[in-house]
Symmetry: C2
Subunit: 250 residues, 2 copies
């Protein structure tokens, strides 16, 4: 049996957002590896071993998956969203580079998925319809000074901004600082979207002007999107639509 | 009949990357509207009218789709990739805002898709595995000075950068300027990925150090991803893997 490793994105939560490519890989797999709540999204079946593991053990999990693939197993590492955006793909390649030489020549494929910012953007309208940036607000793996510098430069560039991992119980202060920084250098009417658990039964979307945003509006299941200076809201009977026009005037 | 409008992403080209949500919308539609090559990806069937239109008529196309939905038809506007990233979603909302008041209360949904940068990133490894920005290099709808400013600030922020629409026959000079700017302010070994026609039979991936990049390496079917200063390459027997580690040292 020739082993392989697929690093697959399960999308934001709804089954209808999982690509057929990912479903096929899961159907052929002998082993599924990942963070507990993501592995729980894979239906058990005969011949498939599920290997759920805890958060923050990404390198151990990667080595385990690579080891099994090198022994001939067909392994899928699952992430929510897209595996290439603040998820397992980079962790697996870190483990490949630091691991035994034969790991480099394994059959490793990354299978893209619908990442949280695009699912959130779609539900709210099109806030990422013009140039934007994507920042992980967790300072577990980078100093806070780097995050702050990137926020200031992103405002100067007038990018819309998508924030992953805005706030956890262990790090409540980072998002508070982020809001203070943005409130100090953006106009008070700048639109900000809090999109929680998009595409699941818990989905909740809130759009407020930046001046009214508070840290408690975000948790780890929330995707935050800050508009550019040109992002607009269409008021209507249903939920509001926010979008960023395609053009910047001369 | 109650009309609706879905703005759907067909992904980068391969059928296996179209979400079930988008396939369902296409199966229920009475009309499909979009740029000629994207409409050509939808299989004709009885009861479905295809409305292909030329490039650069996004607002006319949007108004046509909205008009049909308001008359009770079930309309899908198709984009390649994700409709919210430099595609039809923002154009439709521009048309909604400028159009007759009842258009605001139509049933309009955006159905996300696998956008080109995430498909390209997946094929090459994980170059967008850390903070990044996404810039449309076309200056059709914004002045070149805005693009240049954003490029300089993105380098200063040390974002990886994903470029859409890098180069067309009508605009060959923009990408040349982009490369010159990046070559003047990044180290020569900075990695750059040219990913053409990802997931189609024409797929071709090239990774070179920035010093060796030339304008001819890109065309309108190419997604360009410039690594951050920390993006790395794993040399191996198969195609190279590039990835951006998850961490920035203190």
């Amino acid at each position: 049996m020739t082993g392989w490793l697929a690093i697959a994105g399960l999308g934001p939560g709804n089954e209808a957002l999982i690509t057929p490519e990912v479903s096929s890989a899961l159907a052929e797999a002998t082993d599924v590896v990942g963070y507990i709540p993501y592995v729980a999204r894979v239906a058990p079946r005969s011949g498939l071993t599920l290997h759920p593991s805890d958060n923050r053990v990404e390198l151990d999990r990667s080595r385990h998956a690579l080891e099994m693939a090198s022994q001939g197993r067909r392994v899928v590492v699952v992430s929510s969203g897209d595996p290439g955006v603040f998820a397992m793909a980079a962790a697996v390649f870190e483990a490949v580079e630091a691991g035994p030489a034969p790991w480099c020549d394994l059959d490793i494929r990354v299978l893209p998925g619908i990442t949280a910012m695009l699912a959130a953007s779609a539900r709210a309208g099109a806030p990422l319809g013009h140039d934007f940036c994507t920042i992980n607000l967790s300072d577990n793996l980078k100093p806070w000074s780097v995050i702050e510098k990137r926020l200031r430069l992103a405002v100067e560039a007038d990018f819309a901004m998508a924030f992953y991992n805005p706030r956890s119980k262990a790090r409540p202060e980072g998002f508070e600082r982020t809001l203070k920084l943005l409130q100090s250098c953006c106009e008070p009417g700048r639109l900000i979207l809090f999109a929680r658990a998009v595409s699941t039964p818990d989905e909740a979307l809130t759009v407020v002007p930046l001046a009214q945003a508070t840290p408690e509006m975000a948790d780890m299941r929330t995707m935050v999107i800050v508009g550019s200076s040109r992002t607009r809201m269409i008021d209507r009977t249903g939920p509001p639509i926010i979008y960023t026009p395609r053009s910047v005037p001369q």
